[in-house]
Symmetry: C2
Subunit: 79 residues, 2 copies
């Protein structure tokens, strides 16, 4: 089973990387880009075939390693 | 209009970051993680309201700045 995890900075947390991208897009002539947020996407290939168990495992991975839950939020999507 | 861009290393390109995550998950006791690939996700807030025009603009941004198309592939999703 495949899982895809999105890890983004929480709303309100300053995102200097996203801000740098927004600035660079403006400098390249792309107008009308109002805001940019940049995050991580992690694709996992799991041996687990049970959907519920896979979701529980991936959430535990996020809490323990993949996301810093003080400043980041995550979304788990099973494919 | 909001757009979400996924930028991942192409299949076959070595992903040391993903490999490090896979190794760390194993060390934390998460068995059955067969492969991990890590990429970027970029969320854009656009002033453009026309769907087709927004998609064209975001693809141009990917080609020029957001992705290195030699080793990376991108997916554009309008929300």
């Amino acid at each position: 089973m495949k899982a895809r995890v999105h890890v983004m900075l929480k709303t309100g947390v300053l995102d200097p990387q996203g801000e740098a991208v927004r600035h660079a897009l403006g400098a390249l002539g792309f107008d009308g880009v109002e805001a940019v947020r940049q995050g991580k996407v992690i694709e996992l290939d799991l041996a687990e075939t049970d959907r519920a168990k896979a979701e529980t495992a991936v959430k535990a991975m996020c809490e323990k390693l993949l996301a810093n839950t003080v400043i980041e939020r995550y979304e788990v999507e099973l494919v």
